[in-house]
Structures are given as structure tokens and as C-alpha cells.
Amino acid sequence: MIKVLLFAHLQEAVGQSKVMVELEGCTVQDVKKWMEKEYPQLSLEQMMAAVNEEFVTDDAFVKDGDTLAFIPPISGG
């Protein structure tokens, strides 16, 4: 199980802040595709990602128990 975290407009589009995904031995790119299939309102292609609170690229591997967060363009400060 991978814990996927959603923020800002992604969270509002899906209607929840967390989604548990039953994938393993996959990449961030695979999870993006799975999420877009499950939630057609999402567009994750250019979305940054973080695994266990570190920024990663789309080819990074995600394993069982990891937390994968999609990070929309930042607007803090």
C-alpha cells in the first residue's frame, strides 16, 4: 500500500486529502497514471512529487509503506 497525499486544488478535485493505492514495485509515473484513471478530473502530468517528504522525479521508485505526495505549484510566504 502506498499512501498518496493531495493538497490544494488536487485535494478539492478528489474530495479527500489521502488516498491509499494498492500498487507496489512501481514508479511515481505509474502512480500518476493510476490516479488519473481513478480520478479523471486530475491532471498530474506536470505535478511535482515527494516520496517520504523528499522531492523526487517521476522515475523514482515507490514501495509498500511509502508516502507519496503530489505538490502543486507552491504559493506560501
Binding site: L5, F7, A8, H9, Q11, E12, S43, Q46, M47, M48, A50, E53, E54, F55, A69, I71, P72, P73, I74, S75, G76, G77
Partner: protein, 152 residues
């Protein structure tokens, strides 16, 4: 408010409490950046703002900014507190405090911190205007990271 140098809080920020975290006997200068909610932006009126964070990662990114500052300005000491939730006009969203023996480093490191915060710290702002609301960044779908993808 805690004593940790880097915090995400849900209540109003006490500027003095952040400043006091960086006070030390060999600092001759402390700079503070206080980010506040502005009413007018490009002629559009904001009613209030809503901030959301990924708190665990935000604190990690604050620590990374501190590490980068330590490499560039070894004598500077930094503390950052960012607020989340609903904020009214003139309320404080973020306070960055930097102390240093000399003032030049205190200004430079402070400005570096806010620039990096806007690049790598996962915090989002929802604007509530008179005529609707929007997560900022949302409208930039084709160029999602205006200043380039975060360097990390």
C-alpha cells in the same frame, strides 16, 4: 508556540517570539521578514486568504534552507514560522528571523530564505476575492512552476 526554530502553526504568530529564537551575544544585527495579507493585488480585492501546508515536509524544507544558509553565511542563525488556516487582511502569514554578527549577511540570508521558501516549501494559498476563490498556482496549469521546478 514552541521553542523549535522551524514551525507551522494554526494560530497568530508572535513576531517577538520568533526574533528571540535567534538572539545571541555575538549578533550585531537581526533582520525580520514579516509576510502579511495584502488587500489589493493588480487591482483585485482580497477578502481573506487560506493557507494549507504539508507540515512534516515543510519543516524539513525549512531545515534544508537553514542548511543552505549555513553553507553561504556560516555565522547566520535562522528561525521561520509559517501560519496556516484562514488569515484576514494585515494578518501575518510568515516570519523569518536571521541574526548575524554583521548586517549585510543578515539581510542577504533573510532574502535568500524567503526566495527559497517560495520555491521548495510545500505551502499553498487560496485567494478569496470578492468574486470567487482560487488556489494560487491553479490557473498556471500549462506552466505549473512559474520559477522553474524547485531545485532540490
Amino acid at each position: 508556540m514552541g521553542t523549535s526554530l522551524f514551525e507551522i502553526v494554526e494560530h497568530p504568530i508572535d513576531v517577538e517570539e520568533v526574533r528571540k529564537k535567534v538572539v545571541n551575544r555575538n549578533a550585531g544585527a537581526i533582520t525580520l521578514f514579516v509576510g502579511t495579507v495584502r488587500e489589493m493585488t493588480n487591482g483585485k480585492k482580497t477578502l481573506f486568504l487560506e493557507y494549507q501546508a504539508y507540515p512534516e515536509m515543510a519543516v524539513k524544507m525549512f531545515e534544508q534552507i537553514a542548511k543552505e544558509i549555513k553553507e553561504r553565511w556560516p555565522e547566520a542563525k535562522i528561525a521561520i514560522t509559517h501560519r496556516v488556516g484562514q488569515l484576514e487582511i494585515t494578518e501575518i502569514a510568515v516570519v523569518i528571523a536571521v541574526s548575524s554578527p554583521h548586517r549585510k549577511a543578515a539581510y542577504e540570508a533573510n532574502e535568500y530564505a524567503i526566495e527559497r521558501l517560495k520555491q521548495i516549501v510545500p505551502i499553498w494559498k487560496k485567494e478569496h476575492w470578492e468574486d470567487g476563490s482560487e488556489w494560487i498556482g491553479d490557473q498556471l496549469e500549462n506552466v505549473p512552476y512559474a520559477e522553474g521546478k524547485p531545485r532540490f
